[in-house]
């Protein structure tokens, strides 16, 4: 086996455990994600369709049944989550499988953060509109997750599911004033774009699993060259090849650095203006509002042109860049959704929800990076973004809101961007 590995017995045991788990992890992880998606889509899809029927006046529920309908799907779904978590507790995947699983999990984390922040704001402001925006953000995140899955696994059908979620995002935005139609559309999307793909994932995983009693046409009489040491080296080689989190690289450091600095400064100036510390004036507001975006678009164009032929060196890098690509795409849709909703509802508060969603999306992206790279600093950036989303919801419509956002953009976007650029330069050298 060429290269010689000198390892302790503990490391050898770890290689053994890893290799055994890794060999079947791809289909196993796919089956688990499929199971969660299937039940989530089915339970919440049916629940949403019942709500649509109630809203349309086709069905009436008396109080105890209304409560059962509200909490009914969550109880069995928590059981599914607990079962999957228990089944997967010892699973060890390669870096690409790990990133894909983290991508699916990040959708759940984002769901939790958005449910808490939007739920609290909807209740405290007595606003149905805010509550109706919550599923729209989740749809965009689902679009991001399936987009990442399509790029990681290079499967067209996953891309079509992603496109379906983004179309649903726009459809729900346009249907916000017609609640019955909105709920009907959401229910159908949950069944068609979550339950059905979940079922397909389980079927595909079952097809790929190894049979209990295998036979192989390629089995040979005997391998005189396969001694235990060679086998140990082979297992160590497999682990070293697919478990290299440190070689996973997130590109776009310059974009994070420039975006964090430009928009961080923009928010700082707006925040200082709101608190009365500085006076921007009409022209100052216009420049502060437009200039950062113009500069960022110029940098974005230069980077896209420069990297137009660049390919990712390994599957792990492709995976986390796909996850961030999905975040970027979801951000674009969020911009449209919140811009349209704020404009049509004439409510500034709705626009203030956009940065909250963006922070949660960034947290989801960094969660995938942290799991793939296994680096504490990436996990801290992830936690920082989720905490910022909650903080922003708490301080919404106050001058502190923009100052918190400004600090987060610099600390959690510009600084990691700079670190990534340094790391990239170090690798090239």
């Amino acid at each position: 086996m060429g290269r010689i590995f000198f390892k302790s017995s503990i490391a050898e045991a770890a290689d053994l455990v890893f290799a055994r788990s890794f060999a079947g992890e791809g289909p196993r992880a796919q089956a688990s994600a499929g199971l969660v998606f299937f039940w989530a889509g089915l339970l919440y899809g049916l629940q949403t369709l019942v709500y649509a029927a109630i809203e349309a006046g086709w069905l009436t529920l008396t109080p105890p049944y209304g409560l059962w309908l509200a909490i009914g799907p969550t109880l069995p779904f928590l059981g599914v989550i607990a079962y999957v978590a228990w089944r997967e507790r010892k699973g060890k995947g390669g870096v690409a499988t790990r990133a894909l699983t983290a991508s699916y999990t990040s959708a759940g984390l984002l769901n939790l953060v958005i449910a808490v922040t939007f739920g609290w704001l909807a209740i405290s402001r007595q606003s149905t509109t805010i509550w109706l925006l919550y599923p729209i953000v989740i749809c965009a995140m689902q679009g991001a997750v399936w987009y990442a899955a399509a790029l990681i696994r290079r499967k067209l059908w996953l891309g079509l599911v992603s496109a379906g979620w983004f179309v649903t995002t726009l459809a729900l935005t346009l249907l916000m004033t017609q609640v019955a139609a909105y709920l009907f559309c959401l229910g159908i999307a949950l069944l068609a774009l979550m339950a059905a793909p979940g079922y397909v994932m389980q079927r595909l995983a079952a097809r790929e699993r190894a049979p209990e009693r295998p036979t192989s046409e390629n089995a040979v009489e005997a391998h005189t060259d396969t001694d235990p040491q060679a086998a140990r080296e082979a297992l160590a080689f497999v682990k070293a090849l697919v478990d290299r989190g440190e070689q996973v690289q997130l590109s776009g450091g310059l974009l994070l650095l420039s975006g964090g600095l430009l928009y961080g400064l923009q928010c700082l100036l707006h925040g200082l203006d709101m608190s009365g510390s500085v006076r921007l004036g009409a022209l100052g507001h216009l420049i502060n509002g437009v200039l950062p975006t113009i500069l960022f678009l110029i940098i974005l164009s230069v980077v896209l042109w420069r990297d137009r032929h660049k390919t990712h060196a390994n599957a792990g890098s492709r995976a986390i860049n796909a996850a961030f690509g999905g975040v970027g795409l979801a951000n674009l849709f969020m911009n449209l959704v919140f811009g349209y909703a704020a404009f049509t509802q004439k409510l500034w508060l709705i626009w203030m929800l956009y940065p909250i969603s963006l922070c949660a999306l960034m947290g989801a992206g960094w969660y995938v990076a942290a799991v793939a790279k296994r680096r504490l600093w990436a996990a801290l950036v992830c936690a920082g973004w989720f905490a910022t989303a909650v903080l922003l919801a708490w301080r919404v419509e106050t001058p502190e809101y923009l100052l918190i956002l400004s600090g987060a953009l610099v600390l959690l976007m510009a600084v990691p961007g700079y670190l990534l650029m340094r790391f990239d330069a170090g690798q090239r050298a």
Partner: protein, 100 residues
């Protein structure tokens, strides 16, 4: 699967480069030719030969296409390939466990 039987070692996978290809694809599911060449530090000719052997065994599927004007070769692991790889790892693990 219990015990160890050296006769079950799959000859199509047995070999550093072929094992590397199968391990990488078991994680990534699909990879471009140049990506495999880079991560496995293989030469073009050597990689082509071993990919052909795996394709003949039905363990990988090679799809040739274009990205823009440049030719692009993408390699996908097949369900049979996944199963064979899992069995191979199981047999190797058995060998290590039995004799250590």
């Amino acid at each position: 699967m219990t015990g160890f039987d050296v006769n079950r070692l799959d000859d199509a996978i047995h070999g550093r480069l072929r094992l590397g290809i199968m391990a990488y694809l078991a994680d990534a599911e699909a990879a471009d030719f140049n990506e495999l060449k880079g991560v496995l530090e293989a030469t073009q000719g050597n990689l082509s030969v071993h990919l052909s052997k795996l394709e003949d065994a039905g363990y990988v599927e090679i799809v040739k296409g274009y990205q823009g004007k440049k030719p692009l070769t993408r390699v996908h692991i097949t369900p049979a390939g996944r199963q064979a790889f899992a069995r191979y790892i199981e047999v190797l693990s058995g060998l290590v466990e039995k004799r250590s």
